[in-house]
């Protein structure tokens, strides 16, 4: 059992607080550029994901990786969540997991 490197649930707002740390975020793919994905976070801001895979446009992708910039993540694991995803629920979960219930996650 190992809880030494958790991935924090973040949106664009929260990403700024976890620079250099392992985070998880869901973005909706807006465009693929070589080595990069530009996506929209669950709180409506643009994020850049450094990853060599490409994902279908407007699909939701969960990125687990290291936050390396105010709006950028260096991806370790990406999972395609398909084209329907409840971003409001996920956004609220980010607030809860970093607020009152942080002890259940980190």
């Amino acid at each position: 059992m190992d809880t030494s490197s958790p991935a924090v649930f973040v949106n664009a707002e929260l990403l700024k607080m976890y620079q250099g740390r392992r985070v998880r975020v869901v973005v909706q793919v807006m465009r693929n550029e070589g080595g990069l994905i530009v996506g929209q976070s669950t709180d409506g801001h643009q994020l850049t994901v450094k990853v060599s895979q490409a994902f279908p446009l407007s699909h939701f992708v969960e990125v687990i990786g290291i936050a390396d910039g105010n709006q950028s993540i260096r991806a370790e694991i990406c999972t395609d969540f398909g084209d329907t995803f409840d971003t409001l629920a996920y956004n609220e979960l980010c607030q809860l997991a970093n607020g009152k219930f942080k002890n259940l996650f980190l």
Partner: protein
């Protein structure tokens, strides 16, 4: 509220099977089961890392005061190893990693596990076991996640069940308080009989529950109900002899559930009940 009815219904609809994995699929049954002795708890690996052994013979784990023998986790599969009679892998749910074992005795088990690949999101239902100081899960069901909203749902359920299990049972206590008030809540400022009553209650169970209860008791006393602006946070702290931080926690909780409300400023609160 859904209780055994919900479970019985789920079993019927899933073909009358007694398979715990099927009965625990619906969100309803997982909420109700959080209160039962043999219920399934949705948990994060972080919560499991903080679970401790209960003192009874069953040597079960306890989370938030509830028996955590049956647990549900959701996360990524890593390091899958297939052997003749069992399959093991590591589950990473973002809060931590835990080892999972799945015995494969029948073809249905083997078929179930053959579908599982590294990098896949899965739902695990199983028992929490400890061995040589480390915890692991013996799974009786491992299913791929199809709708990824289930991931958001799982963590929200972990929070919900945590809140349910750590919530003090204040609602049941209010009628008792109203009856007890004539005895303890007299207008005279003599504090001794009142504090004796409070301290005898607090010795019987956990601390947080009792602080919440004590704070609500103070707000519910008839002389305090009569005060237009209610009580100042510090008054309550002095009255109970507890740190202001603890009083504030209790007040936050009671405001959340609607027992008290703030009056002239953020430091004054009053009970919402009419006594």
């Amino acid at each position: 509220m859904y209780g055994s009815q919900g479970d019985g219904g789920a079993s019927l609809f899933s073909g009358g099977g007694f398979m715990p994995s099927q009965a625990t699929q619906t969100p309803d049954s997982s909420f109700s089961k959080s209160r039962g002795a043999q219920g399934v708890l949705p948990l994060t690996v972080k919560q499991i890392s903080e679970a401790y052994h209960s003192n009874d013979d069953k040597s079960n784990f306890v989370v938030d005061g509830v028996d955590a023998s049956n647990v549900r986790l959701r996360g990524l599969v890593m390091n899958k190893v297939e052997k003749v009679t069992d399959v093991t892998f590591t589950l990473d749910d973002g809060t931590g990693r835990i080892e999972v074992h799945r015995w494969v005795n029948e073809t249905s088990d083997t078929n179930e596990m053959a579908l599982i690949q590294n990098g896949m999101y899965v739902t695990i239902n199983g028992s929490l076991k400890g061995f040589q100081g480390k915890k692991h899960v013996v799974a009786f069901s491992v299913r791929p996640v199809i709708d990824f909203n289930e991931i958001t749902l799982h963590f929200i359920e972990c929070i919900h069940v945590h809140l349910e299990n750590t919530r003090p049972k204040v609602l049941g206590g209010i009628p008792a308080q109203v009856q007890a008030n004539p005895i303890s809540g007299t207008v005279t400022p003599t504090r001794t009989p009142v504090s004796n009553q409070f301290s005898s209650r607090s010795s019987s169970s956990g601390s947080e529950t009792d602080v919440y209860k004590l704070v609500l008791d103070v707000f519910q006393e008839p002389p305090n109900l009569a005060r237009e602006h209610g009580l100042h946070v510090e008054e309550v702290a002095r009255r109970l002899g507890l740190p202001v931080e603890k009083i504030k926690d209790a007040i936050d909780y009671h405001v959340d559930v609607g027992h008290i409300y703030s009056t002239i400023d953020d430091n004054h609160y009053k009970s919402a009940c009419n006594g």
